[in-house]
């Protein structure tokens, strides 16, 4: 049984979703219907964070969200982090820190770090170690042992603060 066609707004673009089942997860629709396979499916139960995306700026596991529930909201996926082709600060930081190994969990981690830095930039604070760990503890990475990821967050936070200082000046 197909649902009525609906529209998802993803990375600033409206996407028609015809012929979908109402029970399809946002992750499934992103990957299989919209051709956005950056978000990864690794547990389908909200335990690993590989499918993390932002809905209206809030970090969610897209495997646990019905696609139809995201209608009328702004979905941001890994494909939306660097829309103009230039790597975003968090992406640059991950590359510079050596925080990527197999790269399967990386898109979800990047979305989590981006969300964290967005939240912190609201009050201009510097993330302490525990804040970073808590913010990213929902994202499993099996390759890196998390060491370089911690470093990447620190680099990304520096870049973002630098940029916002630049904006002020």
């Amino acid at each position: 049984m197909s649902a009525d066609p609906y529209v998802l707004r993803v990375n600033g673009n409206d996407h028609q979703v015809p012929d979908a089942h109402l029970g399809e997860s946002l992750l499934w629709v992103l990957r299989e219907r919209l051709g956005l396979p950056g978000s990864k499916n690794a547990c389908e139960e909200g335990e690993c964070g590989s499918c993390s995306v932002q809905i209206d700026g809030e970090l969610v596991c897209s495997c646990l969200v019905l696609a139809a529930a995201a209608v009328g909201r702004e979905v941001t996926t890994i494909e939306g982090l660097a829309p103009d082709g230039e790597l975003a600060d968090v992406q640059r930081a991950f590359v510079e820190a050596g925080a990527v190994q197999c790269g399967f969990c990386t898109p979800g981690l990047l979305m989590a770090v981006d969300t964290l830095l967005d939240e912190l930039s609201d009050d201009g604070s510097v993330p302490d170690d525990l804040t970073v760990r808590e913010a990213i503890s929902g994202n499993l990475c099996r390759c890196t042992g998390y060491g370089r990821i911690l470093e990447a967050v620190s680099i990304a936070a520096d870049i973002r603060r630098g940029e916002s200082r630049g904006d002020l000046a």
Binding site: P37, F94, E96, G98, F104, I136
Partner: protein, 760 residues
Amino acid sequence: MSEQLGQPGITSTSILGNPVLRREDDTLVRGQGRFVGNVPLEGALHVQFVRSTAAHGTIGSIEVDDALAMPGVVAVYTAADLGLDDRPVLMGFYPAEMARPFLARDRVRFVGEPIAVVVAETQYQAADAAETVWADIEPLPPVLGLSDALDGENLLFPDVGHNVAFRNSVEDPFDFSGYEVVVTENIVNSRVAAVSIEPRVVAAGIEDGRLTCWASSQGAHNFRKAVTDLLGIEGEDLRVFVQDIGGGFGAKGVTSEEEVMVVHLARKLGRTVRWTETRTENLTGHVHGRAQEQKVTIAGTSDGDIQAYRLDMLQDCGAYPRFGAFLPEFTRQMASGVYDIERVEVEYTSVVTTTTPVCAYRGAGRPEATAAIERAVDLYAAEIGMDPAEVRRRNLPASSAFPFTNATGTVYDSGEYEMVLDAALEASDYTGLRAEQQRRRDAGDNRQMGIGICVYVEITGFGGSEYGEVSLQADGTVLAVTGSTPIGTGHLTTWAMIVADRLGVPLEAVTVFHGDTDRVPSGQLTGGSRSVQIAGSSMGDAADKLVDLARDAAADLLEAAPDDLVLDRGRGAFHVAGTPSASRSWAEIASEAAEPLVGLSDFVQAGATFPFGAHIAVVEVDTETGQTTVERIVAVDDAGVIVNPLLAAGQVHGGLAQGIAQALLEEVRFDEDGNPQTSNLADYPAISMMEVPSYERSFTETPTPLNPLGAKGIGEAGSIGSTAAVQSAVVDALAPFGIRHLDMPLTPERIWSALQASGA
């Protein structure tokens, strides 16, 4: 975080040893990795396996008619009509009757074993149809405990007459009665899961008239050989692509029954089919690692001279003996670890149980050896009242003793064991740590400190070769083709560095190609930490061969004798010795040479290499709750010459985390009926960022003489050292309560219970 990375600019003549950023990352951070699940396959059918919910039983009938009538269902098969013979045992010395049917035939032997397969137009349809397949299974008693399996009262394979897959016995066991000090302990090396974040995934279909497969495997050619052998077709009849893989850790070195079936189904149906397992299938139906019961006996003098060691092992193979049955052989080879012990004896028996099959997991048999000997040395040190660091130091072979033949006959190529131990002790401020520990003990602090030391050696590379081809392209760039399969390890970057260095061309001029069995003539499985030392050496060797060919070509062009030409790597040009102006650059040779220049490697590594190191773990144990916090991990690792310290350190980090994970958190569990208790990531506590400390690590570099790079393997070492160090640290924290040993995982519950039992 203290890191010793090579400093860009200091090694001005060579890029090797520098922390070069990965060329793989640009696509990965954009979410554009070429994972199998991202390959667009129009109209692909979806495969769903129906799995046994019983650990052991005989199959009466399997009803598939309802499934066949479901919307979108294309086919449903059971063992009766799948059309595949049973998969022969992996090793000729396992009982042949322990062959595994692709779909269970007559009998199921573990929860999660496939009993039927559904193919449908969509994944949802396949899953719905699979739910309607009904199997009549008459339960049999599960076989779970390893000694029960050995007793053989209940058999998985009645035709065999016992549950033993493989054993190694000692004819005339050694008598320990004459030694001054003898200590024994029973140790469980817990069963764990690899948990690659990308689960198993495979797709297959007919492309351009060829059977083609996209696999997430640790070896494209191994995968092809396994599949084509089992399907009874020629190797060239199947093209296998392996591009990005979302983690391997040994588990994806297995070409699993499901993957073989998917290729079979594509061939049978003439359609493109794909299968992505769920996390539950990954945790119950794929493979597990470790799963050994060990008994250690260690003997020596009261002043710290270890004289004899015996290791008895019962290896759990799970339901079908794959590589798991052979793991204790690696444990045997490395049983005595870093120590110079006169007499070492190892016996083992590998038994089948009604559980998920056991296979290689990061380290594969060597972490088990290290965990056992390091626990034994700690127990011996405690028995004679000597500091565990001092006992270790007294029993290490001197650096002049290398190549060193250990008591089980394994020859260690090179080593500086005391150096790494001293470095780790110093970096950790061992004396200061012991003083702080004593202070807390004296104060009866409810946060006790534990210090664990592990000095490890491991075996990597195992000798052999790898396909390596380096050719000069018409545009002056270089194409490097390898038979190896990178598994998220950044080797495309490492190999490009090696080739660029040998040729004297910019890194960007080197393209590395891999993972297409049509283009690459042969390839080996990525495993045993071989990819830099063997695949890297073959890349370097092929580059050297290209240099020789290019020198000849340049000599022709310059009308000079080849012997008179030198390669100026700084300029990327050959010139006549003493006359730099008479030269030909790589680009000039490429455009002017009479024929394409292709260097092919014939490098063969004569044997295994033996990286080593010392890890010190500092933990805090809350004696009221049993909660352990890893405060510090100090790791000094020596994997010979390091080509890219950024990537090598990343390997160590990942290994350290997986070691901490096994020591403290992770364990695959079954209930008394053989039902998995850890079948998802809520129940299987894969380590997160909350449980790891900032790593304090460094490399020392003791080259191996066995390859021109001087490199040994680093992929597994982290997990080998840290597991034992963290376990040792926790036990050390509990020493004041009279606790001398606890098995992994050292969960709060286990520690709290032990403290309660001790009367604390």
